[in-house]
């Protein structure tokens, strides 16, 4: 084990396996692999309290974002509204469950799991929960973090509001509601949350024990 300590100044590129010496970085700079341009590491700026605040804000705005209608159309006197979840279920009900599931996971389930996962990690770090149950939970959450982050596609959904609104305006009058505003705010909060979050820094709390 101790021979690795000689190597702690070395980092390997995850894309091309080049060995690179690690240096201290100025803030808001990223180290890039000299051979293949993959990002090696960022300067570790990762505020636990800031993330806690963003998580709570995201949790609160998550409720109206998913319960209030995001789009509303008026067509020959009849009004139709839909929420994000209803839209996914509507496709599912037509028999296209693969599409329905993909929409549900990308727009509702993955963001919810992402917020709860980061919230749990922040609480474990902040309260310094040392019991082996908490430590195992923390490791499991970190292992799955990359997958969940990749499945969260709120930014794409926000663009799809615009595209749908333009397409539907061909036939009918289209209105945005409070749900659209809430959903866009949810996207903005999660965007900042993911900027603040640094996976390597979160892993370093495991190293300290």
């Amino acid at each position: 084990m101790h021979e690795l300590d000689d190597h702690d100044s070395i980092i390997l590129c995850r894309s091309c396996d080049l060995a690179v010496t690690k240096r201290a970085l100025p803030s808001s700079a990223r180290a890039i692999c000299p051979r293949c341009d993959t990002v090696l590491y960022d300067s570790p700026y990762c505020s636990i309290n800031g993330m806690l605040a963003l998580c709570l804000a995201a949790l609160i705005i998550f409720i109206p974002a998913n319960l209030l209608p995001v789009l509303e159309i008026h067509f020959l006197g009849s009004v139709r509204t839909t929420t994000v979840i209803e839209a996914a279920i509507a496709v599912w009900a037509q028999g296209y469950w693969v599409v329905g599931l993909a929409v549900l996971v990308a727009a509702v389930i993955a963001p919810a799991v992402l917020i709860l996962s980061i919230l749990a990690q922040v609480i474990i770090v902040k309260l310094k929960l040392q019991r082996s149950f908490w430590q195992r939970t923390y490791t499991t959450l970190l292992k799955n973090q990359g997958l969940i982050a990749q499945m969260t596609m709120l930014e794409i959904y926000v663009i799809s509001f615009l595209v749908s609104a333009f397409q539907l305006s061909d036939f009918s009058d289209v209105f945005f509601g409070m749900g659209t505003f809430s959903f866009t705010m949810l996207f903005v909060i999660i965007l900042f949350l993911q900027r603040e979050y640094n996976l390597e820094h979160m892993w370093s709390y495991v190293d300290e024990h």
Partner: protein, 229 residues
């Protein structure tokens, strides 16, 4: 986000601490007996069987990943052809039923003069999936057949593919919103059609193909030929 200034701050290890009289130009982790944990990216000694931080099994290279990636890519290509041929939505407008494929939907947008939206949809539903498949195929071919393509350019392309691939989901989101809103029977009604499932699977499979691939294999293969691009 000053990216450029930090590039110079990092030097390959071989330049900083020469290990032999005649050090190789680029020293790789597997030559030093080191590897990254595939789950948590912690530096480990190759000799150990499990990561010292997260206890996942260690492996230096995943040689099977090239085959897995090819298999996923071929499946995705077949499905993408189907997704383009079959209709993706079924629109009933005052009793008249029209089948829209991905392409006819976009040409309809162009005819009604919504160019910016047409460009967004064209990029997300046609350009991105095809670029992704051709890009990944080039990348895999460079590994499998040792093609003399600049490794650095391939790697930049790979990162772009990884990042942009998710945007294909746009079309599915739009379909789900449209189907949920437009349901007024014979007057105006939108329903999904078979290509939607094929398209969803294309996105899933191409994302998997990129995720599964061990990109370090590219740099190993060409390193043997002392090609440093």
């Amino acid at each position: 986000m000053s990216i450029d200034q930090s590039t110079a701050a990092n030097k390959p290890v071989s330049q900083v601490m020469p290990r032999s009289e005649n050090p190789p130009k680029h020293l790789q982790g597997n030559q030093l007996g080191l590897c990254l944990c595939s789950v948590c990216k912690k530096l480990n000694v190759t000799r150990n069987s499990h990561c010292r931080r997260c206890f996942s099994p260690l492996s230096t290279r995943n040689y099977a990943s090239v085959q897995q990636s090819w298999a996923l890519l071929v499946t995705a290509t077949i499905l993408l052809v189907l997704a383009n041929i079959y209709p993706i939505t079924l629109l009933t407008n005052r009793g008249v039923v029209t089948n829209d494929t991905i392409f006819s939907g976009i040409s309809h947008l162009v005819q009604t003069g919504m160019f910016p939206i047409a460009i967004i949809v064209f990029t997300a539903s046609i350009l991105v999936p095809w670029l992704k498949i051709f890009g990944l195929a080039t990348y895999l071919a460079a590994i499998s057949f040792n093609l003399p393509i600049s490794k650095r350019k391939l790697m930049v392309g790979f990162h772009i593919i990884e990042w942009i691939g998710r945007w294909s989901m746009l079309d599915l989101f739009v379909i789900s919103l449209t189907v949920a809103l437009v349901n007024m029977g014979q007057l105006l009604d939108a329903k999904p059609a078979p290509a939607a499932t094929a398209f969803a699977l294309v996105i899933l499979l191409t994302q998997l193909a990129a995720k599964v691939l061990d990109t370090r294999l590219l740099w190993d293969r060409l390193e043997k030929k002392h090609d440093t691009n």
